[in-house]
Symmetry: C2
Subunit: 134 residues, 2 copies
């Protein structure tokens, strides 16, 4: 139940194709995890090098422990992040990108770059939109 592309009749034309535009395709769930606000930020933050939980928390300003932990688990499950726990005391756990994770993070980063770069344009558009509104 947890696999393959869409499960609906018309979609079985090709067992190997994944399509995020299909309501039930597994790839959409992955996209959701990865593209999710915290997901993006965490993935991209890890591009600067693997690091530990609290360090990561500091890099991603505003994320709660819970969300960080939770998102990290999802990303680990999807094979984007590797978790390395060392049985020392105090406990030390390092998180780093997998190859897949890095590939995804790189592309996500290019989105971030673009957005940051074009923010003035965005703000102008917002201004215009809001003004027109009244």
């Amino acid at each position: 139940m947890a696999t393959a592309p869409a499960t609906d009749p018309e979609a079985d034309h090709d067992d190997l194709a994944f399509d995020v535009f299909a309501r039930d395709c597994g790839s959409r769930k992955v996209l959701k995890t990865v593209a999710h606000a915290w997901g993006i930020l965490i993935l991209v933050a890890l591009r600067d090098g693997g690091c530990r939980f609290n360090e990561l928390r500091r890099r991603v300003d505003g994320v709660s422990e819970k969300m960080l932990s939770q998102t990290l688990h999802s990303l680990e499950r999807d094979g984007m992040v590797h978790r390395e726990a060392q049985p020392t005391n105090p406990p030390r756990v390092d998180y780093e990108l997998t190859d897949l994770g890095r590939a995804v993070a790189d592309r996500l980063f290019s989105v971030i770059e673009l957005v940051e770069e074009r923010m003035p344009e965005v703000q102008a558009a917002q201004q215009a939109y809001d003004d027109r509104g009244r």
Copy 2:
């Protein structure tokens, strides 16, 4: 209140820099809109050419009228989508990407491509993770 980068003391080193990693930076909101599941899907769906509401709804399988309408408004406000209403009857409204929207959509598309491409890897990771879990 609705502008500029972060509002915190340490961040004023550069008035022009936007940083999505800063909790209160406006760019994070934009990223959230754009990277949001429906946002991505809608933006990328529009790469195939501008189209009308219901056509768009068909392209993005599973989106409700409300979410489509709502997301479209956000994207329009952020200057990603242009809305062209024709006063005909029945009403006809076309949505299309702005230049900025296309730039963003192109990069988002590359993320989608990558994810779809690597789904087998993802599924394997999920399998392994779930198995290890017991």
